[in-house]
Homo-oligomer: 338 residues x 2
């Protein structure tokens, strides 16, 4: 592959001049510029990004470490992150942690070794020493969706409390009183917050969230299935199951169906995170929709602000309730677009 030296030789100038042309440095004669450009074209020369990065100490690359690419929420997040990053002149390397702390560490380490300019993380756990180090050692970093308390890093996330309150109001209006939740991992902020928001909202309606109605899930479909089975085995099963993410809702649906029960007649179902397929499931699933694309874009902007020396700010955007039929018919609210 042609290097800058080859171009310089071909154009009859020094490598310094070639570099100047390529970087649009003002003091290059028209003549030299033309000859360099011709040489570049004839050799099909492309600058070696590796060499450039070594010299300039910047890779124009962002790292994104997410918990689970297969989760449509994160897929969409990743896509919007890449889009915004590209618009700002950065590339993105995605690391999929699969909800496994050690895999997350692997990716953080690899990305750091590659000297990415900044790191976007949706942490799987409460914070490995590695990530804490990275945050402190000055690698520009922004948390997205989930975060680690006590670490001084901007956070871009959605606030679901309002939407959860709307959901509980909706459920209460439909006459449901025994509400259960399939929680996410306690090590994640989203895992905790959604339970807290749910409990808070229930209290407003004088409802209780007993331990037997809290199932411990891990944001994967299988755990949703297992937890739902346990709910159904209870002497007094809940009337509603609220899954803290879309994959666990899928598992819950599997479990209900395997028992030959029907949603919402036998048990109602709602989910955190909306996906396009929820419109077409049987029945369509009521869900809390996050402004995913906006989150991804805001996260990139915050990170790039940090990288380029501006002050980044944390961002919190509201989620909203999308009512469908999985909790029962509710003439008062179901005019919400599905």
């Amino acid at each position: 592959m042609a290097s800058i030296k080859d171009v310089a030789a071909e154009a009859g100038v020094s490598v310094a001049t070639v570099s100047r042309v390529l970087n649009e440095h003002p003091s290059v004669s028209e003549d030299a510029r033309a000859r360099v450009l011709a040489a570049v074209a004839s050799l099909g020369y492309r600058p070696n990004a590796v060499a450039r990065s070594l010299r300039t100490d910047q890779t124009r690359t962002l790292g994104l470490v997410i918990s689970d690419v297969l989760n449509p929420y994160f897929t969409e997040l990743a896509r919007s992150v890449e889009e915004e990053a590209r618009a700002l002149g950065y590339s993105v390397i995605i690391g999929n942690a699969d909800e496994r702390p050690e895999l997350q560490d692997h990716h953080v380490r690899t990305l750091l070794d590659r000297r990415i300019d900044g790191l976007l993380v949706s942490p799987t756990d409460g914070g490995s020493p590695l990530m804490l180090d990275a945050a402190r050692s000055g690698t520009p970093m922004v948390f997205v969706d989930r975060w680690i308390p006590g670490v001084d890093v901007p956070v871009v996330r959605a606030d679901g409390r309002g939407a959860v309150r709307d959901l509980v109001a909706h459920l209460h209006r439909l006459g449901h009183r025994r509400l259960a939740i399939i929680a996410g991992p306690a090590a994640t902020t989203t895992g905790q917050e959604r339970v807290a928001a749910f409990r808070e909202a229930l209290e407003e309606y004088g409802l209780d969230l007993p331990d037997r109605y809290i199932g411990q899930g891990d944001f994967q479909a299988d755990s949703g299935r297992r937890v739902t089975e346990r709910f159904l085995d209870l002497a007094e099963p809940p009337q509603v199951v609220f899954a803290a993410d879309n994959l666990m809702a899928l598992g819950a649906l599997d479990a209900v169906r395997a028992r030959g029960l029907r949603v919402p007649d036998d048990i109602a179902l709602a989910a955190f995170d909306d996906i396009r397929w929820f419109v077409h499931t049987d029945p369509p699933i009521t869900a809390i929709a996050q402004p995913t694309g906006e989150l991804g874009r805001a996260a990139v902007r915050a990170l790039v602000d940090r990288i380029e020396g501006r002050a980044p700010r944390s961002v919190t955007l509201p989620a909203r309730l999308v009512v469908r039929r999985s909790c029962g018919e509710d003439p008062a609210t179901n005019r919400s677009r599905s």
Copy 2:
């Protein structure tokens, strides 16, 4: 960030010795090795991958350019690619082309500039000059899922012909005679092949595939919606719509539902590519499942073979039909697991 020089100074040896320790070169004394390791630990030193890549001319990175990350099929493919690559000691950078040739070129160029060791592509179109160049200029390359005819690059893909034949047999048995297809872009091999396989299978049953029953889609949900609307507007609408990918099936479902019609009573629906949600749609959708994970792994193995100087081979794996209820009840076959 500490460099190899700092480590050398701290350990009281030369950089060469540090490098030898790090690369497990045999002739290093126990004493020196211990001192270097201690220095590495105390400084928290990590080798700079950028510098290493420049010197060794290998990045241990693979590029993966896919047509649409939001399509669950490609998401799963990407995941399995990353997994296998990691097992073999490579990282993966994913580029999402969004079915847009110019975006695809952008990613190919960026990846080439970064001097990735090899490229995995699922081409959006018939082959831009850039990609043709890349293939010829010796960048190790493997096509996955889709390919470009006439380019001498190994291909890893699924063969859907058998499964399509099974599907048509199933449909025929159910009494359907007017079958339509929502095709993918003609510029993609999968776009063409699926139509060809469908037509071939129809012929075996003495059925015709008239032009009005071929709708041109682009593998996106919207196009599935538009094409289905046109089908429904025909004087004699088809009895079955076969969508060449899962997103267009989603669009088709939207369109059918918007008209107040029901699947499969008013019109049957089947899709190429199976996804987990198809089990829970209303009704569950009959689909052709590709061995996605196996494809991703095989593609990586072929590419790494090529990179490491072994002879890569093309791989074709069979897809299989998964019968559900979206085409009607068929006691003879619906014992297929859903």
